[in-house]
Symmetry: D2
Subunit: 344 residues, 4 copies
Amino acid sequence: MLSFENDYSEGAHPRILQALMDTNLVQQVGYGEDEYSQRAKEKIRAACQCPDADIFFIVGGTQTNQVVLDALLSGTEGVVSAVTGHVNCHEAGAIEYTGHKVLTVPGYEGKMHADDLKALLETFYADPSHAHMVYPGAVYVSHPTEYGTLYTQAELTALKNVCREYEIPLFLDGARLGYGLMSPGADVTLPFLAEICDAFYIGGTKVGALCGEAVVFPRHGAPKRFITHIKQHGAMVAKGRLLGVQFDTLFTDDLYCAISRHAIEMAEKLKAGFAQRGVRFFLNSPTNQQFVILPNDVLKRLEPQVRFSFWEKYDDAHSVVRFATSWATPPENIDKLMKLMDET
Amino acid sequence: MLSFENDYSEGAHPRILQALMDTNLVQQVGYGEDEYSQRAKEKIRAACQCPDADIFFIVGGTQTNQVVLDALLSGTEGVVSAVTGHVNCHEAGAIEYTGHKVLTVPGYEGKMHADDLKALLETFYADPSHAHMVYPGAVYVSHPTEYGTLYTQAELTALKNVCREYEIPLFLDGARLGYGLMSPGADVTLPFLAEICDAFYIGGTKVGALCGEAVVFPRHGAPKRFITHIKQHGAMVAKGRLLGVQFDTLFTDDLYCAISRHAIEMAEKLKAGFAQRGVRFFLNSPTNQQFVILPNDVLKRLEPQVRFSFWEKYDDAHSVVRFATSWATPPENIDKLMKLMDET
Amino acid sequence: MLSFENDYSEGAHPRILQALMDTNLVQQVGYGEDEYSQRAKEKIRAACQCPDADIFFIVGGTQTNQVVLDALLSGTEGVVSAVTGHVNCHEAGAIEYTGHKVLTVPGYEGKMHADDLKALLETFYADPSHAHMVYPGAVYVSHPTEYGTLYTQAELTALKNVCREYEIPLFLDGARLGYGLMSPGADVTLPFLAEICDAFYIGGTKVGALCGEAVVFPRHGAPKRFITHIKQHGAMVAKGRLLGVQFDTLFTDDLYCAISRHAIEMAEKLKAGFAQRGVRFFLNSPTNQQFVILPNDVLKRLEPQVRFSFWEKYDDAHSVVRFATSWATPPENIDKLMKLMDET
Amino acid sequence: MLSFENDYSEGAHPRILQALMDTNLVQQVGYGEDEYSQRAKEKIRAACQCPDADIFFIVGGTQTNQVVLDALLSGTEGVVSAVTGHVNCHEAGAIEYTGHKVLTVPGYEGKMHADDLKALLETFYADPSHAHMVYPGAVYVSHPTEYGTLYTQAELTALKNVCREYEIPLFLDGARLGYGLMSPGADVTLPFLAEICDAFYIGGTKVGALCGEAVVFPRHGAPKRFITHIKQHGAMVAKGRLLGVQFDTLFTDDLYCAISRHAIEMAEKLKAGFAQRGVRFFLNSPTNQQFVILPNDVLKRLEPQVRFSFWEKYDDAHSVVRFATSWATPPENIDKLMKLMDET
């Protein structure tokens, strides 16, 4: 069975497993105070050109969104997200579970527009009864978005300017950040994110790690007692080394970028294959998630041999489906997929 | 630096790392639906002699306590725990964070007495205004306890009988369960737990895994939509295989028991060493956590060369400290510690 | 200063104050167990032709929505509301505070369409990853809506049929229910609501009481331990008689209907006055809230002499504003308003 | 039926009802912005000699404790209370519902000792793993306590000194404050409380109002956006005038003190009556709640004719019961009770 279902179908990059083996019996203190975690943090600070960043490792993406937003928001505040944002759709209400509303603005292929954000904030503060409403207390964007699209520096700067005007933090969900950084033509870099975000995370789970996300709070910006917030949410791992070793490896010899670049190359190959076969694209994604419109009978014939994600109904005869590449996708798999396409 | 600080100072048992390597590039579906997780669940069901158990893997202990109890308790209910229970002390309020009170009864070297539990329940229901109070909705015990002590079958049966009378579930925190199962003279077994508990977990993090706890709900007893509860708490891992492979390994060829037995043997060796040197024990622990009373100046001299956990002040000149062995403790380390004791 | 700002600008109907005086020194037990509350419940059951209804009195509307929905919803569930629903907009996130997401469907002049509800539910259950999303667990409608509009029996029946199909409760917010019941041409009655709703409340605060809402759970349908839910939310009043006496009075000699009818007559007079003066209506409201489009300069001139509610910007020169009548509005006030309109 | 069950068995002081009548049809803005609330606040500020106090009116006591503490505490914090504190026992977990743990210290006839508070804080900060525990973030005391006892100025000052040292706020629950202020020999005054507390409330419900508590935050100390916190908890009343008129009346011509003094005089008369009859007191209460030890058969004979509160079992033949006087207790009722005592 061939799988393009997502970017977490395999284990970890082999160098990560090797590093886990190499360090396995060295005794370390727990809860992220181990030396591998410290080393990983230093390397991430360097990659972000941000020596004063507070960095924490958390196991998964929903958890990271939940813990970070709950710590950033005060009791009367909610988070602004595009209506398609992961926090608004696919986290089983993890944000609301912590007592905070997700306030939505339109999404444009997954992206939030600064104008819409500004309009929401202006309307809120113009409303004489806004003390009876949820205060917008942070902004959530994902990059790449849930649709594989990317913000430009200009777009994020525009969002940040609105945030600055209203003094609310900008939080960027980088579950697939590597794929965004390595997309050809992308101008958003780690140092740029460190400059513009109040918090963001560098995704590991979907970019070659077994698990783990690295949360970065530039300018010593970690919320007070963030460790306790992590613990309270059940998000503290005893063997913090598991996350430390992985990020230490990912940020050694540029591995994070190298494996992300590979996924992008595989996505380009996939796109080219689809395009040659006249397949329509649902939108133009520059990253590792590709959304195509395929006839339902084609999908039916593919299903026994290849896994992909159903996204949404397109019309009565067609569906939008997602094919994802990753750090682990061998070029042969794409050839096999194209062969299957030709046969069906 | 020698460490007896805890039982999570090393990585994972080498067979676990090997299994992660062996399966690394096999594509699997996410979120615990992978074949390794399925296999691990079957093996655990067999070990528990409980073919109808619902089983879930969760990354850590606090998280497991939080997710399970939040799913077991209804909105008006709290959980009864010994005052020394982990959920009452060392989880940064993770239970209260989910809206549930921890109702306490006395702890006797970490253990709850059925009489105290019964008294709490009787007093509660005898109070004519109990509708204005928190309903006791579940019972939490840890085995081994936070003090390394163990329940007998008779003691757990007595607790269960009270639970049955009041129709509330019994939940057992087995973060260190292996060490309890392998303690000489212990009569509590996995099949016994599956018979008596409404939910319990088999700890992995502290018993040889990188991370992971296996929650067992005997008799198809998983709370409704437990998967969604896990997701909502941010406790769902995308690469569920990470947990599946580990428990599959731990429950192959009796590895879980074998490595737990080793830790107990090392604890016995440690106890013998202390006893020979006239060290007083704070209590008699039959498992891998040993609590001893040492003069503060001895501790001071040991500190630069060995890590242990400060537990509490004993008197002005003495402290209670904990030394923990684990699956990974080499006998030489205990010899070294004893040598250090003799030298200081 | 003349006020049409809302329907809670005055105190209580004089008969209510008289009843509070008459009963003042009679000793009663607390927490709603007093005889006035019992009597009021009997009268409400009779008015609803629903002898098996569970009835509770709660101080205010937001509180009622919060307590009832939190008790109806299980942990993994959210409530479906029109995007304009009070619970989604003007309750400072009271629902999310309790951990539940508000899932939105479009609002049509404040009303939810059964088709949209059905589409949301179908889409949810058709999504293969819906276990990672918030389950729709109840439906919230307001009647009259936030725009003064009313459902017909047919429309509510259509919503109920969808609820029945998916086995989720229908909850109706009747903060201004009296005004809906007395609107000419309205076919929704208390017995109909008791038949069709799983829970609804009869608003007191906005219909002549000092405070208080009567929650009705037909068919002994109160959530388990609802008293404890009320207490836990801080919503229990010690002197339950305050609410009991008020509802006892409102449901004696048809007072609730009589004073509601008066408000409707005043609204009709207000509409006629506006219509004669060529004022445009934002929408056609058959109840006591009237939304009109007025030039900003007219509003500016009115403001020093009359209070009304700004609703939203219509265009650069016009605003939508709300004028509300109530049980307390004297006809002269409308004449005065019209005189002011003519002068400005 | 004679009732000494509690201090909320009657309605309101007649002057309060008269004031509600007198102001009934004057149109006012809602949500506490009415002129009566403003006037009441000014009078309370004067009574507290605290012109810079932020004041809010909330309907009930549990609600006030919940809203105030939730606003004072940050996410990682819990509140310290005597084990007998109302927030720890009789509020159905209202504090935990908001995500905060109640951390307990011993209670001495309901009172917290500064030494115990200091010990809890010292132990907490001395624990090297305290970041994994709930931070003590506020201190809750009740005055009078749940046992009718009173703090002295010296005792509260000692508690405040500990709070100051650890920079945590002191919150005083004054549900029955009037009875504490008027107790003979009591040295705690409103100005003293305004000086020493970060927040306290002046109880109305149990001291002559239909409902309502006045929360005082001296030195402009209201938590940020406290109005929104109130709304979010469902604790905002539309007709804020209901609370404003009541407190305006209570703080006119010293009514609050006058009616409290009456309750104390009635309690003294009650005590004298019991003492003459050789009844044992469970503790020496200087306020309106009296706890006596009576034989169960005496209680049985009294029950058909007089209401009182069962407190706890004393021994097999005796119970501790509470008799409460209030602003409304006529002296004749005490005579009647004593006559009943003599007859039984």
